[in-house]
Amino acid sequence: MKNIKYIAIIALGLVACEPELDNSVEDASFYSAGTADFSTFVSVGNSLTAGYADDALYLDGQKHSYPNILADRFSHVDGGAFTQPLVSDNIGGLMLGGSPIADTRLVLSGDPLVLTNLVPPTDNLAQPSTTDPTNVLVGPFNNVSAPGAKSFHLLSDVYGEASGILDGTANPYFVRMASSPSATMLGDAVAQNPTFFSLWIGNNDILSFATSGGVGVDQLGNLNPTTYGGNDITDPTLFHGTYDALLNGLTANGAKGVVMNLPSVTSIPYFTTVPYAPLDPTNPDFGPQIPTLNGIFSQLNGVYAYLGVPERSIVFSETSASAVVIIDENLVDLSAQITAVFLGSPAFVPFVESLGLPAAAAPLVANLLGTTYGQSRQANANDLLVLPSSSIIGTINQDVADGLEAQGLPAAMATQFASEGITLPLEDKWVLTANELTMITNAQTAYNNSISMLAAAKENVILVDVKAAMEQLSIGGLSSNGVTITGEYATGGGFSLDGVHPTARGYAFISNIILKRINEEFNATIPETNTGNYPTVYID
């Protein structure tokens, strides 16, 4: 009996003890949704909406997707539940019928982790992905996004058809969440009758062209997306029409929403990390070769001068870093002329002999020089080397070396002429040249104009200038609550290891930028998220 008394006293104490604030953040009226209603929030987009990072979609990335962060914030103002088509693991990647069709996520790795590289080493996680896109999840999902989706894909009724995954007409990430194989992404979003939406689309309409080093086609004037290749630039008129249809669909029931414009490719580390002049004369693998290389190239430079293109001359400095040699598709192909000039020069045979080759090899060498350097030049500040080029610059392209050897060059010399970016001009895919960048920028400007204009025409749709925020990353960075993120690869904290997609912290910054606009435009007082608590890059 006595015991019960004491237990009662203690229990009473526990209740009485609960400290409560006079004005708690958990009080219903503490924060306000203003004129917006977040009870059904639907987010539509591509990888940036899915929470893609480190070149993969994985659970922690999805947890930190910008719409998921927003939904968590909206929960303070009666926001509804937010469901995402979660992948099966934290490994990332996709497995189709037992074969990997998307890589696992990248992590900083090494034993020990090497810190002396221009680009710190990354590895894909070794475990196999357990996410099979043909295991279709039961929705609906508030996050209707598919990594890789371009604007027009959101209207495609074959985008969720599993049989189209391998030929690229369907998207495995949409296949696994589509309400039916013939569903469209827009349709699945609209069917949820959203009260509030976010739309961030169009990035891939230029980005796949950019990340591929511009190997695709600028489809300006072509309004039929079914004829587009994966790396092509979408025609701006097509983009405008598509975007109009998307906004009309999403606002059809009166939903309010937010749209994001498209950042410049030059604000992401995928294009800003590898310098155009990375060849360091103090590098023992490169420096000692410079006199020999300059000796060979002086012959070529003489021909360039003779042909009236001295700007194509190749010279490596012995005191400062030199630019890599690249193929520029926009140069006139002078292969045949170069070969002819060499063969017509009385000095050529002695030059060939000076290389230790017989005089009979002169036609072979002239042909080799012509074909290799017919469309090449050294890179300049206007050329953007893509991130993956860092792993091949200065390495020997064994296929090329073997080919040269097969043509009759001694093995040592074949190797010498197969050094990527030094004697072997970098292929188109490694470099975004100024011309290619212009195509991208033109399209981006047109898309962003469309987004601004179409958003402005909708009464309850607001535009968030993510483009300006991303530009800030390369000029000082973005700061809040003790953290600063910049656009620097791996160490800047803003971008994940693929150099294109934000880190969790980057997504948190974007979420706060969006929230600020929502608070301003809809008279809401939604609390921001604490960016300092979000991880950046992952170390194995």
Binding site: P19, S24, V25, R505, I539
Partner: protein, 415 residues
């Protein structure tokens, strides 16, 4: 590459560690009920703690007191900027005390005290918003105090004792606000050590200038709990991290500061006893907690910058009848924590303690003592500004409100 190095180091920088500074003033059920006054009160064996000199004046050949309280404490933390609301889930604290006195002859008395004047149990939800400062901490210290008192005259006695302290610490925090392993688990460290021993002393003077009026002084020395070779346990460390974050040992010193108490007690209207104590705790000795790790973290210095603090205690005792004595008290406890150093390991601002209790005399020898403490804290907006990431101070701020109650029970026995 220098950048990357600093970026990795930044994960490790400013590993703020905390321990210390949680005085638990529950050293005797009778005196707690009177606002934890007692330096000038002659009542029971509890005086071994409050003023060793006063055991000279106790009735009886031998006196015993023992008691225990249950501390039920909880702290609320909220941050309006980020919409955070968290509560601690502290385990029940159980400070106890055992006191005995023995009067060898008219002028010489001995005493022994075993009590727990320092301790802290704060447990936040793992990986909560302030987990870079603390996830949970448990500090315990048991003091054993053999005591001797000399009655110099009927108006004056002096006493003192050696203090042997035995303590333990177990503290877990995340290494930074955001470092995780590849599975997203927060990298954290636990430091723990048991059986930390240290020595100190206490001395007291009791003066009875006139009938019914007592004046007492007590000085308790600083006790430094020095940990050498304590255990560290790092969890969820990325394996490729170029820095050594392996488990190892740590060295640290956790000060338990010197305390001076002066007070009076006065009997009036036959049945009433009034007591007043003034405590001065030299917390300013606690400038920083410095923890030396055996791995690459090295020495972690964490500013605390405590200030000396005062407590004013008032107690009243009323002998209701032969069997029952009622007690009540109030005290105003100044926190040693200064603005900008308000860390969630000791979410302690100034407080007011309201106490009450009673003794029930079972017979001439035995009585049962009950006590109750309610510690009231005002809501406070404050921050800890000295956590660093990347060489930059990152404040952890918010609104705190704590609440503590401590019911206690004990017995006194007199021979």
């Amino acid at each position: 590459m220098k950048k990357l190095l600093s970026f990795v180091l930044f994960f490790l920088a400013g590993s703020t560690l905390y321990a210390g500074g949680y005085r638990v003033s529950i050293q005797g059920q009778k005196q707690l009920a009177m606002g934890h006054t007692g330096v000038a009160v002659i009542s029971s064996a509890e005086s071994v703690f409050f003023n060793p000199a006063s055991i000279s004046f106790l009735d009886g050949k031998m006196n015993f007191s023992l008691g225990v309280s249950g501390i039920i404490g909880e702290t609320r933390y909220e941050n309006k900027t980020y919409g955070i609301a968290e509560n601690t889930n502290n385990p029940l604290g159980t400070p106890f005390n055992v006191f005995a006195t023995y009067k060898a002859n008219n002028w010489l008395s001995f005493g022994l005290g075993i009590y727990t004047p320092y301790g802290s149990s704060v447990e936040w939800e793992k990986d909560w918003a302030g987990s870079h400062l603390v996830n949970n901490i448990e500090l315990k210290a048991i003091f054993v105090q053999p005591t001797i008192a000399l009655k110099i005259s009927d108006q004056l006695s002096i006493g003192g004792g050696a203090i042997y302290a035995n303590g333990s610490v177990n503290f877990n925090k995340n290494l930074s606000r955001s470092l995780v392993d590849i599975d997203g688990n927060r990298t954290n460290v636990t430091i723990k050590e048991k059986g930390i021993s240290a020595w100190g002393y206490t001395i007291g003077i009791m003066i009875k200038p006139i009938e019914k009026l007592n004046i007492g002084f007590n000085y308790r020395s600083k006790v430094d709990m020095v940990v050498e070779g304590g255990e560290t346990d790092f969890e969820n460390v990325p394996s490729s991290l170029p820095n050594d974050l392996s488990d190892g040992t740590f060295n640290a010193t956790l000060p338990m500061p010197a305390e001076i108490t002066a007070g009076i007690s006065y009997e009036f209207c036959e049945k009433f006893l009034f007591a007043f104590d003034y405590n001065f705790a030299k917390w300013s000795e606690y400038e920083a907690l410095t923890v030396e790790f055996s791995n690459d973290i090295g020495t972690s210095t964490n500013p605390r910058n405590y200030k000396d603090s005062e407590t004013f205690r008032f107690g009243l005792q009323y002998k209701a009848c032969d069997k029952i004595t009622l007690r009540t008290g109030v005290y105003f406890d100044e926190s040693p924590v200064q603005d900008g150093y308000f860390a969630p390991e000791t979410p302690r601002n100034d407080s007011v303690g309201y106490t009450g209790g009673l003794s029930y005399k079972v017979n001439d020898k035995l009585s049962i003592d009950a006590s109750f403490l309610y510690l009231h804290f005002e809501e406070i907006d404050n921050s800890y500004d000295h956590y660093q990431e990347n060489g930059q101070n990152v404040p952890f701020e918010g609104t705190y409100k704590s609440s503590v109650i401590a019911p206690g029970i004990g017995i006194s026995y007199k021979l």
